[in-house]
């Protein structure tokens, strides 16, 4: 017997006799004999619950985890503090065992939460409309580019090299096969080279979108206002890839005129999860709403005039428009977006600003301490948020990271992996979770002190 299958032998016999079938095997008679599996699957035998838990604990112990090891690694996924409340809410099984709210009358919980989520994302980004979530930051940016192509009728996209390298890879996968040209805009001092952007815009006829990230991959705050103005001058849309925590203190995309805001939502109450599940957010100006992919929730009334919520503008979507849909997305990352909604409710107007200020202060503290050791030098001399790049004067980053690991810490990213020209460059993230003591120990170990 299996605990997830309630049918007893007696039940099965009763059902078979009602159907008029002699055996369960008979129900599979449409499957041609020669393609039926005549053996058991070659898989490990079933485990009882206690055995399973021990097995999984053993595998989990093969990982170094950030709960036990202070983490200075970021690069798109950040070790922020998650209030206990978040886990409690998303563990309510009325939320996590439901599906897409196709029947609004018994899905008001999910629908209202998404409506609150859309409102929060719009308030953070300064945009008019938001969808209910995308798979992650990378696919949100790629879909934003497709949106821009659809609404401008143009087929080229410019993307800054300051955008997360993996996002650019995903963008290429999505765009190239759809016949969309991608060109990259270079960097200057860790920031997007705006002269280069102008050259690219004037050189390339018919650019649909310019994609910049701020803070960019190096943590540097880009001049989004100038880049947006430039894009608009050439009739291109601006896609701003932004960090949601930074938006508590940084100018929102809506204010500098971006047409689409997209990004990774993980920093809002979602665990690292070895890269997923997280969620992407996608918000835009009102005029683009019918070009947006994914679920969108709207307010309406029931037959007695009471407020309620439904999935709306569905004629954009695959289940109605099939090959003419704006995207193929069906399942999204609703539960992760719910976690973000709870997180933002907990943090609120003041708390999120404090998180952002703490990240800012602590990362600047770590930065100046590292430089003061004389073992590191500046890479980008520009304002940054939460994350920064430094160059080690004489040691490969791998050596430094190994030393940190020996002392129970998780070091930063070796930038050379994505930017071959950035030898010995190290990308370090410092969230509000890192204490002064941890940062001091980190700096000491990084500088090789006590060798």
């Amino acid at each position: 017997m299996y605990r997830y299958i309630p049918n007893t032998r007696e039940d099965q016999e009763k059902m078979l006799s009602a159907i008029g079938a002699g055996s369960v095997a008979e129900l599979f008679s449409d499957i041609p004999e020669d393609i039926r599996l005549d053996r058991d699957l070659d898989l490990p035998d079933a485990m009882h619950e206690q055995e399973l838990v021990s097995h999984m604990k053993a595998i989990a112990s093969e990982n170094v985890n950030t709960a036990d090891h202070p983490c200075f690694l970021g690069a798109g996924v950040y070790d922020h503090f998650i209030p206990s409340v978040v886990g409690h809410v998303i563990s309510r099984s009325e939320f996590y065992t439901s599906y897409t709210p196709y029947q609004p009358e018994i899905s008001q919980g999910t629908l209202q939460a998404i409506f609150e989520y859309q409102t929060m994302i719009c308030r953070l980004t300064g945009m008019d409309v938001s969808n209910a979530s995308m798979y992650d930051g990378a696919t949100a940016v790629a879909e934003a580019a497709l949106m821009a192509v659809r609404s401008t009728g143009r087929e080229k996209v410019l993307v800054s090299r300051g955008v997360h390298p993996q996002y650019r890879e995903v963008l290429r996968t999505y765009a190239v096969h759809a016949g969309i040209g991608i060109a990259e805009v270079g960097l200057s001092g860790g920031m997007t080279d705006l002269d280069g952007l102008r050259d690219a815009l004037s050189g390339e006829a018919g650019v649909a979108a310019v994609i910049l990230q701020s803070p960019n991959f190096f943590g540097v705050i880009e001049d989004m206002e100038a880049a947006t103005a430039l894009a608009h001058e050439y009739g291109a849309l601006t896609v701003a890839c932004v960090d949601p925590v930074s938006l508590a203190i940084l100018q929102p995309p809506g204010e500098y005129g971006a047409d689409i805001a997209a990004g990774e939502g993980q920093p809002l109450g979602n665990p690292l999860n070895y890269g997923g599940p997280h969620f992407g957010f996608l918000a835009a100006k009102q005029k683009l709403v019918r070009k947006m992919p994914g679920r969108i929730v709207g307010q309406t009334t029931d037959s007695e005039g009471r407020r309620g919520f439904v999935l709306t503008l569905q004629a954009r979507e695959q289940h109605i428009r099939r090959e003419k849909a704006v995207s193929n997305i069906c399942s999204n990352q609703a539960l992760n977006a719910l976690a973000a909604t709870v997180y933002l409710s907990v943090m609120g107007k003041q708390g999120l600003k404090q998180v952002a200020e703490l990240c800012l202060s602590k990362s600047h503290y770590a930065y100046s301490k590292l430089l003061a050791t004389g073992r590191f030098e500046k890479v980008c001399d520009a304002p940054f948020f939460r994350e920064f790049a430094v160059r080690s004067v004489d040691e490969p980053v791998e050596t430094i990271n190994r030393r940190l690991r020996d002392r129970g810490m998780i070091g930063g990213l070796a930038l050379e992996r994505y930017y071959p020209e950035m030898k010995n460059c190290w990308l370090v993230a410092v969230t509000e979770k890192r204490t002064r003591q941890e940062i001091d120990a980190f700096v000491e170990a990084a500088a090789g002190g006590g060798r």
């Binding site: 019918r290 503008l313 569905q314 004629a315 109605i320 428009r321 003419k324």
Partner: protein, 127 residues
């Protein structure tokens, strides 16, 4: 609602009618009925060149969306702006409310379409 004298119909349930050398295009009563409550009409851009059979507009209800094809070749010379705010006009009186106006290259393309009687019969076979 009244069907105009000389109104022509397509197999996709659009109507077309000539007035002053221009061709007005809309959807038939059968079409609006099949779609149900219309919630949005995507209007074409004026000045756009179209060939007969090209999609020029999309009419959406809550659960479906239907492409509207131009029955004639030519240039879009006008759209019914009232539909932007009041798409339900297509439900209320589909023959009074056009979607777009085309400056046709060749008016004789209209002759290939069904007249009212042929269209009625066509619809009765669709049922």
């Amino acid at each position: 609602m009244e069907i105009y004298e000389g109104m022509k119909f397509t197999k996709e349930h659009e109507w077309a009618r000539e007035e002053g050398g221009k061709v007005y295009i809309g959807i038939s009563d059968y079409a609006q009925n099949a779609l149900g409550d219309i919630v949005y009409v995507e209007l074409p851009e004026t000045g756009k060149k179209v060939k007969a059979g090209d999609p020029i507009s999309v009419v959406e209800s809550v659960k479906t969306a239907s492409d509207i094809y131009s029955p004639v070749s030519g240039t879009v010379s006008g759209v019914n702006e009232a539909l932007a705010d009041s798409p339900e006009l297509l439900n209320e009186d589909p023959y009074e409310n056009y979607i777009a106006v085309i400056d046709p290259d060749d008016l004789s393309e209209l002759e290939d379409l069904m007249d009212e009687e042929e269209y009625r019969e066509f619809c009765s076979r669709e049922e």
